[in-house]
Symmetry: T
Subunit: 147 residues, 12 copies
């Protein structure tokens, strides 16, 4: 299965930023672990601090064969209606992931404006959230193949 | 690992209620699948439509050796501060699970008053959410054992 | 027709409580009058101060042949989303009744969280509200029988 | 008993408008049924799309012997404080009726600014709501006559 | 004087829960101290995690000779309008007690929906709050006896 | 000076309605007193329960020589933006009058949507409010004549 | 095509009112220009300051052959749910027009309660807004005729 | 009649401050005019920028024979609940006066927290507001003397 | 123990003001009773209608040996953030007292802006509230002395 | 006339996205039609998913001879204050266009933060909205040329 | 240049209060440093815990030759509209200073009601804020002298 | 000291935009003045209209030796939580600067979502704000060097 892992602003700093909260691994290391866990699948990775670049990348999914999406939009989660619209363009299964538990942090993080365009959300399970999201995408694909 | 799966009001009707949204399996069937998936662990199950019974059950966890909690509090999620307080009594890892994606439904379901007492949340992944929650609990236990 | 009259918290105190507002009859007396008014129909009665017991009772309606519901949920009307979910399980006709006129009392009583799961509401007509609700249930049944 | 049935804006279109929601009978037909159901009482009918005409008509009730009021103020229900004031002029029993269940429709219909001046409300019982309202008015009159 | 000490959800865990905030005594020990402080009075104790059981117990006070109430409703304080209604049934003097100072904690604890049915509130004085509440009840009784 | 006294809905019932609050005089009697108090001026009077009729009358003021306005818009005060617009058409001095003190009554009466188009407001001085308003209009005219 | 131009309160004062904002032409002159611009179509005009008269006129459209509506409801735009309901009776294409740009004026003008019943809105283009609205109605008709 | 004119913060600057809005007279000159207009009455004057001094002065009215109050509390109008309480101590007639029209200025000036303790308000009539307030106090006294 | 009883605006009028609510004793009489009840302790009393004088007095406590505070800030309770800051200067135990039950009165009295700087609150127990507050201060002192 | 048509995020997907709502034409086709409709004018087109790129482009208008702007900012309409500021830099006539009727869609689309910097808005008229906007720009230019 | 440094409630406790936040210097020491930094200018200092005394002092500035103002109003910043009005009396340049960063503290400190009457604000730069404010005042004076 | 001056959207237009508010100097000229004022320090400058580019630049500060930050985020100040997160990555001293006084402008500018990640704010002192911010950074560095 072709899966895109899409990370938003400041997630490129993982491992360098507040390790007490986010852990000391970089996301490159996490990608290696994910690829090791799902060896027979193609996991693509894209990160940007630019809202527009994320929208461009999401639109690309319409034509590049992406079959599932795992998206951690960082702070864009809380105000980017433009990303919401871009997510709505895609009819593939989509899961929203947050490393920390956003509902136990500051008030402005308790709202996700992109949730209505996603199929589910995993929050607060750390890097394992990405793994669970991918596993779920595979299940969904398997089921729709069986029909 | 000793894990309690705790379900709140109306979840005993699973399989009989809006199968288009919630699927046609009963939770008993789901428990069988979960036990099959984690054969070397003890998965306990408790469901109640009574807020007080749920609080009683949570307090029991202090002394009955429960090591992890997967809680789907149904509609109590949105107003039961008493369950929030009971969850705070427990220092074991706790994950909140919702079958449907609560942030894509009616406005009153966009708030979880129990989130501040949980370590994470999985929403909208259907019955797979329970499986991912258990897998995460096992990881957490493994890590804390390694130290 | 099989009809359930379901009363919520503190309605068992009717006749003992603020007679200036609620009248001096107990609900048992009102039930007798209702049964006298509709002699050819089965009117069942259940009251509880326990939210969970009310949900249990509503779920029972799925299998015990109840064909219509008259529900006065007392103060639960204003915050019990769990009862809302339980009401949604039932596809029989359902009417919400309030003895006093809830929209002319304190602000917190101006909201009914269970209304979206009911077919109608009668508020402020005293015990007559129950009679009107039953009469309407009979009309609805008659019509659907004629088709 | 002298009873005024007072209908507000657009209710003259009944039968021509969204029959799926409001039924296919005109209100003239409904009036005939009501008069047949209460043959020994005088049922007067007034409808207007003009807020001022409705206030004029309500004021007339002070002197024309009206003994009870059944009012369906249509959309005026949600903003006409002037009708609220006019209703307060009358000390006769007053019941608010809505054909559809206003609390299960758009948000702006969940508020009734005229409720504080009425004795009760019936919502969502279709044309039967008028019949129940009249029956209650008769009961109230009978009781006050007995004293 | 016959006084009921009524404790709500999670207060049975006193002494086992966050001793830094709530102290290390169990409520049973506090009851002993209270009985020692007021030897000539009957102090009854009831605790439940069940909203319905608390309402049942409050209704019992109408007939069991209870002359004063000291109520710590725990988290129910913040949303149980059903308990508010049950408190309104009782015309005996009633004092609301909170061990910690609820107005200096999380925002949702700054609201007491049961206050309008109580004569007073003591917040933040720890177990001494119960003692002061009882002393006040005795004063009130003494005064009304003098008249 | 040509002055229009403009009264809104239900003010024609003055003297017949809640005399404890509004006094027992009709507005016709009040007009006589006002004319007696200002014998050398033309006081015109218009009342309507119809928002549209009030707007028509206000527009007439553009051509009929009206030089000052005293307006008591009754309940329209709180929601009629159409009257606000009509008032803005007039460049003559305008005073808003309320018999009772609207800021000491129900919350919905604490807002005047027409205030931004008036030069002043008098509230709570009973019928004297009209007299003070007229006197102020005369002062304003006198000043602008002196220049 | 039979088109109704419907203007609400105070629009009869056009040309006499704040020419800096609204221009110095009367609406009669604007109607002449519109008729000259669309010589092969019937443009009917109706204006009223009376909410009820506007509702009456809208209801008439059900039977008088009106095929398209251009409505500038003036201040009624912001609170008349009764006009909203009347507009919903009509299945012809409907465009809302505002001479000034209502979203750049006072806060209360930023809401249009009638928008949900219209197909589109033109705001701030002055009298040209009417012309654009009619042109769009003709396009819509042409398309539906082609099918 | 003994009348106290009570002015709050910054009103001692009258005549020196924004003459375009407040006029160029000092309040001492205005007091002279008021005394000339009501030669047979005792008009006392007190101004302070100190909230506490105003409360002290109001309490004095309980014993110094003051029979009526004209109060312009300046900006204290909008937040001083302590002055509200002091006003409630007095059972004499009380009128609130504002030189400018507070409801046509900034939003924070649209609320008067002291209004519930006053009999009426005059806003926007300039210095004439004081004169109208005194005239009304005299009328009230005359009436209560006649009884 | 050195204890300061600090009363805010209008509490000097006790006994003269609304005796139905506040009792007919002056606070001087209450102080005598309190001193009689705690003969071996120094009870100091200060009252002012001046916010600034109260802040000055609170600052004095830093150097005059005050060991405990009982504060009834009257209406300042609801808006004086300056008193909140002054209370925060003091590390002695502090109890907030209200004679009437502020949470059962007007809405603006349901908020205490000074609560976050106090250890507890007693509301609605009349003059007994002061006695209970002092007794608690003595207990706290005794405990900290034992350590 | 030199006119810039500026489109925001996701509008490059027109024709590929929800054709039921937005039509099946790409914007390139729409541009051809617009150029055909206004052959004697220069219509420039720019689209970007990047907020910053849009701001850069707007700033360019200060020096590249653009004389009018038609802007459809997509989802940026609802939160980009930075684009608002950029629009304010330009003194040319500016019209906001929305293909669908934004006031009849989700709540977050009912707000346009860029409206205060535009001269008008057209919403819900589909691609015709662009045409009407250009026609209005031409009229405005013509008028200002005539002076 | 004649500059007034004006400090509000509790700022006289500087150095004695929470040194971790506010530093251990008294304001007298800070004044010495400021005077040393600006030896050729007259820096006057006034502090009070009394809102009225601060207003009195501000009014004095109209006549005592004050040419610039540096104001730290402490907690009055958040609710004293009376100080706002007093600041508006002065046409000299005025800067608001806060020692700590008020926007990073409790929610009630995020609002400054006096900002609209000041030319600028410096928040969170500690005692250096006063120095920067004075330097800016000198620059402003120099510029206006050059003209 | 190595200091970054970071400017957000539209600040590159300084000198070309509303000179009445922002002055007629370009920011390049201001940078020259700042460098002249602090000749022994390295002042770096970066401006972008792209939110992502600003985040990239902030992240660079982790490795390029930047020791202090002066940030004027323009309109991003009011909604960019992504910039807030990026600012939190940096542990160097950070000051927020605004040329105009944002609290005296439109309501949406009264909120700064980035304030919680800054040490202080200077608003409304024009270009001098940058100078004061740099001076403060130097003071802070000097102090931490002395320890």
């Amino acid at each position: 299965m072709n899966i895109l892992i899409l990370n938003g602003p400041n997630l490129n700093m993982l491992g360098k930023r507040e390790p007490g909260i986010y852990g000391s691994e970089s996301f490159e290391q996490i990608m290696e672990e994910l690829r090791a866990a799902f060896p027979s699948h193609s996991l693509h990775y894209f990160q940007s601090n630019h809202e527009g670049a994320i929208i461009d990348r999401l639109q690309q999914c319409l034509t590049d064969g992406t079959q599932g999406l795992v998206a951690n939009m960082g702070a864009f989660t809380h105000y980017s209606y433009a990303i919401l619209d871009a997510l709505r363009l895609l009819s593939i299964p989509k899961v929203e992931v947050h490393l920390s538990h956003i509902f136990a942090r500051e008030a402005f993080r308790h709202t996700s404006v992109i949730s209505p365009a996603c199929d589910g959300m995993i929050s607060g399970l750390g890097k394992y959230g990405y793994q669970a999201a991918i596993a779920w995408l595979l299940q969904v694909q398997q089921k729709s193949t069986e029909h």
